[in-house]
Structures are given as structure tokens and as C-alpha cells.
Amino acid sequence: MPERTFRVNGRQVTVDVPDDVRLLWVLRDVLGITGPKYGCGINVCKACTSHLNGKAVNPCAIPVRDIQPTDEVTTIEGLPATVGKELHPMQQAWLDHDVVQCGYCQPGQIMAAVALVRRVAAQGRGITDDDLDGLRNMCRCGTYFRIREAIRAGAANM
């Protein structure tokens, strides 16, 4: 089997896995990184949202062959280190607003939120209701309203 090398959460990894296995399963089943969750496997529910070179992606829809040796994959486990703290400001906002219920979708929600705030900041503007309406991450507990509040608070501290 071919070996693939890339970076995950600041660490270089090499995996021995067929090229077409999707990154989600490389993370979860091969590397044991379980923060990104399975919710659909077809890039719809967004529970696996992670960052590739700082942008939000869904590893359930990326064959591992598409990941280059210089690529940096960040999962929820590696998010705090991107700001050199125990917790990323968005995670702290999630705690402050007690967003979580069952928690299954929340790693993906937080990763999507961080990418959204960065994207909007790059456009030199603040978060709008339309931006929040555009988030596709499913939450079957229905925590959406608190997610909106937390993103606004987290954005203020990013």
C-alpha cells in the first residue's frame, strides 16, 4: 500500500493506506483522532468539519491522495495550538454560552465558525445574520440559537 505523509495538528504523520480512503477515516480509524465525527459521509451534515491550511473542509469527501506532504490538517484537537492557548477564543465562547447539548456536532460547528469568522474578517467586515444563515452544520439537539450568539462573541475575541 502507498504511504502518504502530511501534517496533522502540528505533527508530521505517515500513513499506509489506499489512496482513495477518505481523510475522515484516515484520521479516525488509522490515526485515532476522533474529534471529527461521522454524521453522513456525503459532505452534508458537516459534523467532520476540520481545517486544511486554515480553511474549513469536510474530510469525509476528500480522498487521502488529495492531501499533499506540505498540507496542514487541523482538527478540533489542534485548534487551541493555532493560537498558542489552552482554548481557542471560539471554544471559550462555546463554554461561556453553554452551547453544547449532546456535543456530537459541536467540534464541527466550532471549526466551521472559526473559518467563517476568518473569511468574513478577510473581507473586512463583521458577521451578519446572512452569514450565520449560511452555516450548513446540522445540530439535531437544536442548539442553533446559542451557536449564533457564541459565534458573535467568539469573533469579538479572535
Binding site: P18, K37, G39, N58, Q91, R136, R140, C141, T143, R146
Partner: protein, 762 residues
């Protein structure tokens, strides 16, 4: 619990153990004499066939069998194994709060785990009916209060002080002279060498410092850092990913498989085996399981709903509907409402880990009825129940779904067949098409009135059968024997117990009729109430209109009591009921009482074309609930912050049920296979303003809260929609008639894993 002896005085135990362990009895104690009558009232033949109730009763009859225990460790941590399932509803947090209150320790020093299946608890380990806090509120506090008492006694000796000169604060006992000792240092000194019964007084409500104050979830940090472990995150040695190739119609069976050898040779695949529900594939990764499931060529036998569709089921319901009484001579308002099938999937799909050996088995899964799961799995494996360890794992949502243990049963079967541990997970498409559903329902309501008086209320609720085969917990089981209902089915008993009319509407008659057991159904969050309440509240609006009364004032005048009126008044006041709204928008108001709790909701909806037709890729926008105000009185709110979260979730559910979420049945299968087919509320449907008001405590005891928010929210949205459009909706969700997606194929049963993920980087 034993009888309270005097005000706030209760009996409990100190157990023989090396460190301090105190306990109290949970729930009704089934006496041996009660066993025969309980037997006769058991809900489902499925259970009585498998679960040997006499065995359970014998286990339960030992003196300390029904106890739940609080343990104080030498590290100063207080531990408690909760015999319930945490699936997001916040009961580990509220349980920790009860212990922190009575034991005067910080919340951080209370460690809550979920108890393995404990068959001696009989029906006292079932998470359902919004019953957890109601059932455990007193026994947990009694155990904690006894621990406090023992620690103070031990401290008195250690510090050479009288107990009356000691105070316990934040886990440390301090004497009047200023000497102090941590409870961890007293854990062995306060222990007992023999089990003894003691009585204790509970803290009075006026002195509470933890209960009733808002607390954030104790598992929040783990959840936001990705450290919280769900069943599929567990590292059980050699438990490799496993999925099942499922039939194209509901509950179809495998006929034959054409290419077993070929699929066994696929990359990563370790095993392929036919099981009772399909063809199981075990592989190195779930991705390879998906590929193998798609590659299998299976011929299938028809299932239990062959050829059926929404329309044929509607006709079945029509035939099963019980007649209303003779038409009254007075004026009436009548309406009939249809509620289509709804999916009961959580975000975490059905899943379980199983390690079955020749003489024993071990199961890990999010389970709300672990005792029945243990008994059923043991029967399937041909093992004694005592050789099957069932571990309850925190669940990624449930909404009633985890009352069933379909994945655990499958995982056990696969593991036994191949002789290897498995980590079995359903694909999202499996969950949508072969998972549990809320049954399709019709509800007919007739109200008779004269002048300003309502003379009678009749409701005929007709439903595809709700599977209650998991047992239904101590409240219902306990009360069933006392009900003057004669020999009617268990679901009718459940319906009668859960459905009441909160209004003084004269002669009232509510009846349930069920038909067709061919579907995989279950008690979806709030069970009968969302549909029944929605139908009732819509008709209440009609009656008010007939009488030329304001919908809020009309409800207010007919509600039974002050507590009910208080929540209704609160939402009317905060939500500015009756304010001027533009054409195409409107307010709606609804009331619901259940689980000894009362609730009212006011919503505002926008049905104008500019809102309804907002473009969202692969989504349903439709009317938007722009604002919701929710007032709730659960008697005593243990954790108001957790209660708010439950009500917010109820609002999200209610919006989905009224406007967007349903399953479409065609040719014996559901068309939905994705969250972009089954339209649960998403961000673009979420209210921009949402306010939850927790009313001041009106009781010494907490009522139920986990399901309460769904029914009134659905009803309020439906009422608002009717007022905004000028037409009362009669079919739910309102968009069911329009199929808003292209159905995925049924063969293969799961869609391919996409390869274009990088194109969506954002």
C-alpha cells in the same frame, strides 16, 4: 424510596465498603406479590417472550438491590453511577448538582458516570418519559445527605469537636476552633464495615445554594475540545469498523448474495457475512466498509411494508379511526389533521461496539433501556444474561431513538458470527430508511359550544402503531395496574396517561386507535403530544374565532389553574401579543401541560414571498419563525440553564415538525437518505430572536422537561402560520406535498463517498 418518616426525613443506607458509600432506594420497590400483576400488565409480547420477569423480580427482592450509591473517595472526589443515559439532555450535570447541594462539595468534585445494565433495577433503568429528574431527585439527595452526616460524625472524632461545632463547606469540614479536614481524608474513617439503615433529613428548599441556580454542563469542556467519547470513539482492541448492506425496502431480508468472495477480497475488508438484517462487512476503515457495501450484489425478499405509500397508509388510518360520539344539537367546530412519518435519527447514527466470545459478551452503546437490551442480546446469543456486560456510553442525541438497541443487537450477532470484536455503525442513509420513525398519524377534533361556553371536546387520534417494545419505565408500569381501563392495550394506557386537555371544555373524550405494525417506529421525543396538541390548539383558535374572542384571552379564560395562566400571561406580555404585524406575517400562541409541568409559546412567523423563497442550496427555506418567546414552569427547575437549552431544542423541533421535516413513503421505502433530504431545522430556519423564561419555582419537586418544549412549539408555529396565511393548515409538515430533493437510489443502499471535498474549502 421508602415512605418519608416525618417532614423531609428519609431512610437510606450506609453500605459495607472500604471507603464511604451511602445509598438510597430508587423508584417503586416491586414486591414479590406484585410480580404476577405486573406480569399481566407488561406492554409487549416481545419483552415477555425474552425477559424473564420472575428472574428480575427475584434479583430485585434482595434487600439492597434497588439502591443507587454515592461514594466518597480518598482523593476527595464524590462518585455516582447514574442508572440513566445521558444523550444531551443534561442529566449528568443536574445529578451532580443534587449531590453538590446535599454534600456541600464543589461541582468539580462530583464525578458522574453512567451505570452498566443493572437487571435488579427492573424497570428503573429506563431513560424516557421525561422522568429522570422526577424519579431520582429524592433518592440521590438522600444518599448524599447520609454521606454528609457520616463525614461530619467522622470529622467530630478526628478534630475532637462536637458535630454541632462543625461546618462543611466546599468539601472541607471546619471546626469552630478553626481546625479543618478535607472529606477525602475522612473517606475511610467514615466508612462502615456493615450495611446499616439510617434516617436523614434533607436540606430545605430555602437553603439551596446549588439547586435552582444556573450551571453550565459538566461535560462542556470535553465536548468543545473533542475529548468527549461517544461509542464510535472508544478504543476497544481489534473492534474494527463494520457496516451492513441493507435492503431496498423496509425490513426486507437477504435472499442470496452473488459476489461474497469478490467482496471479501476488496482492499481492507476482513469479513463479509449474512446476518438477519442484511450483509455485514468488517474492514480496516469505515470508508472501505462503504465501498464494500456498495459492491455487494444481493437479491432481496420483500419487507414488512411492501408496496405501501403515504396514500395507502392514509387509507389504513381512515379505516382505523374510531367514531366521534353522536353529533350534538349545538354548534360545533371540527377539523381533521394529517401528520406524515418523521425520522427519529439523532446526529450520531445507530452504533455499538460488541465483543462476543464463546462464554461471554461485552457491549458498548448509548442505551436508554440497557436491561432489556442485555436480556434480548443474551437471548439472541444463547448466553445467560449474567454473562453479557452492557456498558452505557454517552449518546450523540436520542430524542427517543436510543430506547431501542437495534445496532447493539446487530453488532452482537456479527461479532458472534465472525468471532471478532466489531465497531458497528449505520450509514446516514440506513438511519433514514431503515431506522425508527415517528408513525404517521391523523387526529380528528370536534368541539361543541353554545354562546360563550364550550360544552364538549372530542379527539380521535389514529396512528400507525408506536413500538413500545422496550418497556416504558416505572411510572407507566407502576400506574397501569391501578387504572380503571380494563383490558386495553398498553399504548392506549400510555396515551391516556400522557394526554389531558388543559382547558375547561366540558365533557371530554380522547381516544387513540392504532393500526399496522409493519413499520420501525418508536417513541419520538414527546411521543403523541406534538401532533395531538397541534390539532387541539388549531381548533382552539377556530373556536375562539367563532366566538369572536381573542385567541390568547380565550385560552386564558378556559385554562384550569393559575400556574397555567401565569405562563400564558408571561409570553403574551413579553411577546407583545396583539402587536401590529405586516400582512403575510402573524403571531401564534399555544399552551401545553405534561409531566407535571406547564408551558406556553408565542411565535411570530414571516410567510411573505421574499422570505419563503430565499435561495438556499439543497435546502428548504419556506416561512421563517422570526421570533419565539417560551415560558416554562417545571415546578422546581434544578438547573435553569439546562432547562433553557431543552426548551430551545423543543422550539427547533417544533419548527421542523410544523414546517419542514417528514419522511415520504413510496413503494415500501422512505425516499429520504440524507440531512439534505430530511429537513430538520437548520440555521436558515432558526428564529432570530428566541427568549426562554423560566418561571419562579412553584413546587417542592421538579417535573419533567426533556420533551415538554416540542408540542407547544409545533402548535404555536402552526397557529401562527394559519393566522399569517388566513388558512388553517391541516397537513403536516406544511411542505410535505412538495418533494424538495431528488431521491437517492436504494440499490446500492448507501450513496458513494464524494471525492470533491477540496472544491468546497472555505
Amino acid at each position: 424510596m421508602r415512605e418519608p418518616i416525618g417532614r423531609r426525613r428519609f431512610l437510606g443506607y450506609v453500605l459495607a465498603a472500604p471507603t464511604l458509600v451511602t445509598a438510597a432506594e430508587i423508584g417503586l420497590r416491586p414486591s414479590v406479590a406484585a410480580a404476577s400483576s405486573a406480569d399481566a400488565q407488561l406492554p409487549s409480547p416481545n419483552i415477555t417472550n425474552i425477559v424473564d420477569l420472575n428472574d428480575l423480580m427475584t434479583l430485585a427482592a434482595t434487600p439492597t438491590s434497588g439502591l443507587i450509591a454515592v461514594e466518597v473517595g480518598q482523593d476527595g472526589m464524590v462518585s455516582f453511577a447514574l442508572p440513566r443515559a445521558e444523550v444531551g439532555q443534561g442529566i449528568t450535570t443536574s445529578t451532580a448538582m443534587l449531590i453538590a447541594e446535599e454534600l456541600s462539595v464543589p461541582l468539580e468534585r462530583v464525578r458522574i458516570t453512567l451505570a452498566d445494565a443493572r437487571p435488579e433495577l427492573v424497570f428503573n433503568q429506563l431513560t424516557g418519559g421525561s422522568n429522570t429528574t422526577f424519579a431520582t431527585y429524592t433518592p440521590i439527595r438522600v444518599a448524599a445527605a447520609i454521606a454528609r452526616r457520616r463525614l461530619l460524625d467522622a470529622a467530630a472524632i478526628a478534630l475532637g469537636s462536637a458535630v454541632t461545632d462543625l461546618s462543611l463547606r466546599a468539601g472541607t469540614i471546619v471546626s469552630r476552633s478553626g481546625r479543618s479536614i478535607d472529606i477525602g481524608a475522612l473517606a475511610d474513617k467514615a466508612a462502615s464495615t456493615q450495611t446499616q439503615q439510617v434516617s436523614v433529613e434533607l436540606a430545605p428548599r430555602e437553603s439551596f445554594t446549588v439547586i435552582g441556580k444556573p450551571h453550565s454542563r459538566i461535560d462542556a469542556l470535553d465536548a468543545v475540545t473533542g475529548r468527549k467519547k461517544f461509542a464510535m470513539d472508544l478504543d476497544v482492541p481489534d473492534a474494527k469498523p463494520t457496516m451492513v448492506c441493507r435492503p431496498p425496502t423496509i425490513n426486507g431480508k437477504v435472499g442470496s448474495v452473488a459476489n461474497l468472495t469478490e467482496v471479501r477480497a476488496m482492499a481492507g475488508v476482513t469479513h463479509v457475512v449474512v446476518i438477519s438484517t442484511g450483509v455485514a462487512v468488517r474492514a480496516e476503515t469505515f470508508g472501505q466498509c462503504i465501498d464494500a457495501v456498495r459492491a455487494l450484489r444481493v437479491t432481496w425478499k420483500p419487507g414488512t411494508a411492501a408496496g405501501k405509500s403515504d396514500e395507502t397508509v392514509r387509507q389504513e388510518l381512515e379505516r382505523a379511526e374510531l367514531p366521534l360520539g353522536l353529533p350534538p344539537l349545538t354548534p360545533t367546530v371540527e377539523g381533521k389533521f394529517t401528520f406524515y412519518f418523521r425520522g427519529n435519527s439523532a446526529l450520531e447514527t445507530n452504533c455499538a461496539v460488541a465483543d462476543v466470545r464463546a462464554d461471554r459478551a461485552e457491549i458498548w452503546s448509548g442505551l436508554k433501556s440497557p436491561i432489556v437490551a442485555q436480556q434480548t442480546i443474551a437471548a439472541k446469543l444463547g448466553l445467560p444474561a449474567s454473562r453479557v456486560a452492557v456498558h452505557v456510553v454517552q449518546g450523540g442525541g436520542s430524542f427517543g431513538r436510543k430506547l431501542f438497541f437495534d445496532a447493539a443487537l446487530e453488532a452482537a450477532e456479527v461479532s458472534q458470527k465472525i468471532g471478532k470484536p466489531v465497531k458497528l455503525m449505520w450509514h446516514r442513509a440506513d438511519d433514514a430508511r431503515q431506522g425508527r420513525a415517528h408513525p404517521m398519524v391523523t387526529s380528528r377534533v370536534r368541539v361543541s359550544y353554545l354562546g360563550g361556553t364550550v360544552l364538549g371536546y372530542e379527539q380521535r387520534h389514529t396512528s400507525v402503531a408506536t413500538d413500545l417494545g422496550h418497556g416504558i419505565g416505572e411510572i407507566i408500569t407502576g400506574l397501569a395496574a391501578q387504572l380503571p381501563v380494563g383490558d386495553i392495550g398498553f399504548s392506549e394506557i400510555f396515551f391516556k396517561l400522557s394526554q389531558t386537555t388543559p382547558y375547561d371544555f366540558g365533557a371530554t373524550s380522547l381516544l387513540l386507535s392504532e393500526t399496522d405494525k409493519g413499520f420501525n417506529t418508536g417513541s419520538m421525543r414527546n411521543v403523541y403530544s406534538p401532533d395531538a396538541t397541534c390539532a387541539r390548539e388549531l381548533i382552539v383558535d377556530q373556536v375562539a374565532a367563532r366566538m369572536r374572542r381573542d385567541p390568547y384571552q380565550f385560552r386564558r379564560d378556559f385554562l384550569h389553574d393559575d400556574r397555567s395562566r401565569a405562563v400564558l400571561d408571561k409570553v403574551a406580555e413579553v411577546g407583545q401579543w396583539g402587536r401590529q404585524m405586516p400582512a403575510g406575517t402573524a403571531q401564534g400562541i399555544a399552551f401545553h401541560a405534561e409531566y407535571k409541568s406547564v408551558s406556553a409559546v408565542l411565535v411570530e412567523i414571516d410567510c411573505r414571498p421574499a422570505t419563503v423563497n430565499r435561495p438556499i442550496r439543497e435546502g428548504v427555506t419556506g416561512p421563517r419563525v422570526t421570533r419565539a418567546v417560551f415560558a416554562v414552569d417545571v415546578g422546581l427547575a434544578v438547573n435553569p440553564r439546562g432547562l433553557e437549552a431543552q426548551m430551545m431544542g423543543g422550539v427547533s423541533d417544533g419548527i421542523a415538525l410544523a414546517l419542514t421535516s417528514s419522511l415520504h413513503l413510496r413503494d415500501g421505502y422512505f425516499l429520504e437518505a440524507s440531512w439534505d433530504n430530511y429537513f430538520y431545522t437548520r440555521q436558515w430556519n432558526t428564529p432570530l430572536e428566541l427568549q426562554i423564561i423560566v418561571m419562579p419555582s412553584t413546587s417542592e419537586r421538579p417535573g419533567g422537561a426533556g420533551e415538554l418544549g416540542v408540542a407547544p412549539s409545533m402548535a404555536a408555529v402552526a397557529c401562527a402560520y394559519g393566522r399569517a396565511t388566513g388558512t388553517m393548515p391541516t397537513s403536516f409538515p406544511i411542505n410535505h406535498g412538495t418533494l424538495s430533493f431528488e431521491p437517492k437510489p436504494t440499490v446500492p443502499p448507501v450513496p458513494p463517498s464524494p471525492t470533491d471535498g477540496l472544491n468546497y474549502a472555505s
